[in-house]
């Protein structure tokens, strides 16, 4: 039976942050911290770079804006010309409100889709969800750090020692 990773339970957000700093400095790459609520400063402690979701949002927004403008131009000034209120066939002014709404709509779609893609969601199962200690703790009052066995630096003895030195009272191997 394969092991998914090594799980260490911490009692306070401060302990979890310090442990994350240690694991980051030790050079691990495939690991994560699971907490019942967002912990400020955790991204810096884990050494996480800025999220790339913003790019999906931006691309969504640009697509929305240009498609809105193009749609209105194509419908009103090219495909079926109609004069309304003596206004020009096409003007960025009257096209703006609709394009702006489409910018917001597609930008929020972009954020949502980007988040799902980058998180590799949806997925039906995760090995950690089989672990009772994990499920009860990470959603309630425990701060859980998990280092995957797939990490190139993973070594059962060394990693266990590192997590113990970070102050975890409970370390266990999670099955895949």
């Amino acid at each position: 039976m394969n092991a998914y990773g090594l799980m260490a339970v911490f009692e306070t957000p401060a302990d979890a942050i310090h442990a994350a700093e240690k694991v980051r400095d030790a050079g691990y790459s495939k690991w994560d911290v699971h907490t019942p609520f967002p912990v400020h400063g955790m991204d810096a402690a884990m050494g996480l770079p800025n999220s790339k979701v913003g790019w999906f949002t931006f691309l969504g927004g640009v697509t929305g804006y240009t498609s809105g403008m193009l749609m209105i131009w194509w419908m009103n000034a090219y495909d079926y010309k109609i004069v309304i209120g003596g206004k020009p066939m096409f003007s960025p002014f009257f096209s703006f409100p609709v394009s702006y709404e489409l910018t917001i709509l597609l930008a929020s779609f972009g954020s949502l889709i980007g988040m799902f893609l980058l998180n590799r969601l949806p997925r039906l199962h995760h090995p950690l969800l089989k672990n009772r200690k994990f499920c009860a703790g990470a959603t309630h009052d425990k701060f859980i750090l998990v280092i995957e066995t797939a990490d190139p630096k993973f070594n059962d003895q060394e990693t266990r020692k590192l997590l113990a030195s970070a102050g975890s009272k409970h370390i266990e191997l999670v099955e895949d």
Binding site: N50, G54, F58, G85, G86, K87, F93, F94, F96, P97
Partner: protein
């Protein structure tokens, strides 16, 4: 010279890209005024011919003809030139005081923790509204008959003036102006008095007092600011209608104040006064607020333009038509691209909001944009062909700024640099203090 100061000035004139835009703008302005001068000459010829053809006794009935008599007939008098330059500089300085007052009110309305480091100097800036700005308003009060065409216009023949009675009458004008300053005095000094009293005794009562001032003050602030924008700026073209005019001035004012706040925070942190309370997140939050107001200003000004454009009512469109003539057109373009698109696109990534050098440069750039935005509002009444930036503008702006900066720094140096015993001071320093109630529960 410290880095933020250098960057700020570079934002005003040094950075190569910014300089290129300014030079391009100046060239365009020159070309524009030449072109319109030629256009005007041709237009005048055509008009005289038309008038000769037209029958005698046919009355001039549109605003265009009425407005044109006042402005492109002969060179405006020196006093008038000075008055317009002074008014523009005054409205520019007023922006900071009103923006600061708004941010202080905002702080209490939302019970915001992150604004604590910036609150004290904003309180001082807001308190410049009275008596400093009130005294500086006196020249406008004296020159008003020269500045505002409605003051010398007869309501019996001017329909717009009669229709807006009693809005544009001498008594109303001075009465409202006085009332506006009293309202500002009441809110700004009340907020600062409670804040300084809290420094001494640390009582939570003062926080409640400030909340009351803020809750009532936001309404008075909205009405008084709208009144100021209408009476002192929009009244230059009293025929004009726009219910959004006050909000446009408000949005631009807060926009330029927020980025100036960012710069002042950086300046006072580097000098040491605000070193203990300033964290990276304070700059980030300030940057976010600036970004929000970049969008808000564009949204509001676009809405004003869009509604006027769409309705196409002559009483409203003449205002923008005058501002699309000559090199004013380029100032409008600067508002679209320099006031909105450039900061908007530049500030989208998170790291730029934390780039202190970049943001200081942006502060200088915002000053240029906001000043030209006010020129755009005020200038075309006197100079229909484009902005004329002369010695009066430089003198008025530097003079008023010098007074404000002097009064502001002496107030800042006389008191503690941030609220010393505010209930949220530990939180804003990033220290967690467990509440007494939760300690007892353990």
């Amino acid at each position: 010279m410290t880095t933020p100061a250098f960057n700020f000035i570079s934002g005003l004139c040094r950075r190569s890209c910014v300089a290129a835009v300014v030079v391009a703008f100046a060239v365009a302005a020159l070309l524009g005024s030449r072109l319109t001068a030629a256009e005007h000459a041709e237009h005048a010829k055509a008009e005289t011919k038309a008038v000769q053809k037209a029958e005698a006794g046919h009355e001039g009935h549109d605003h265009g003809a009425g407005g044109c008599q006042g402005c492109c007939g002969d060179e405006p008098s020196e006093l008038k030139k000075f008055g317009y330059a002074y008014l523009t500089a005054y409205m520019f300085c007023l922006s900071f005081c009103l923006g600061a007052l708004f941010l202080v009110i905002l702080n209490h309305l939302f019970d915001a923790q992150w604004m604590l480091p910036i609150r004290r100097f904003l309180e001082h800036l807001a308190c410049q509204l009275f008596p400093t700005m009130a005294i500086l308003w006196i020249p406008i009060g004296i020159l008003a008959p020269k500045l505002y065409p409605w003051m010398t216009s007869d309501p019996a023949t001017d329909h717009a003036l009669a229709a807006k009675y009693p809005l544009f009458t001498i008594n109303f004008f001075y009465g409202i102006s006085l009332l506006i300053f009293l309202v500002w005095w009441f809110i700004s000094s009340g907020l600062r008095r409670a804040s300084l009293a809290q420094d001494k005794d640390g009582a939570a009562q003062h926080t409640r007092t400030m909340r009351k001032y803020a809750a009532g003050g936001i309404f008075c602030f909205a009405f008084s600011l709208t009144g100021a924008a209408i009476f002192w700026m929009k009244a230059l073209s009293h025929q004009f209608f726009s219910t959004m005019y006050g909000v446009v001035y408000f949005a631009g004012s807060v926009w330029v104040t927020v980025i100036t706040t960012y710069w002042l925070l950086l300046y006072f942190r580097n000098r040491g006064e605000l070193k203990d309370v300033t964290r990276e997140v304070t700059f980030h939050d300030c940057g976010k607020l600036f970004f929000a107001f970049t969008v808000f200003y564009a949204y509001i000004h676009f809405s004003q333009y869009f509604l006027i454009w769409n309705a196409a009512v002559p009483e409203e469109t003449f205002w923008y038509v005058a501002r699309e003539k000559g090199s004013w057109w380029w100032v409008g373009q600067l508002t679209i691209f320099g006031h909105f698109w450039m900061p908007f696109l530049m500030l989208l990534p998170i790291h730029r909001k934390l780039n202190l050098g970049f943001m200081s440069t942006m502060a200088g750039w915002a000053w240029v944009c906001h000043y030209l935005d006010l020129q755009f509002n005020i200038g075309p009444v006197l100079y229909p062909d484009g902005p004329h930036l002369g010695i009066y503008d430089v003198l008025c702006l530097s003079g008023l700024l010098a007074v404000i900066i002097f009064r502001f720094t002496s107030a800042f140096n006389a008191h503690p640099p941030y609220p010393q015993r505010d209930p949220r001071v530990a939180e804003s320093m990033g220290v967690y203090v467990e509440p007494a109630a939760s300690k007892a529960a353990h």
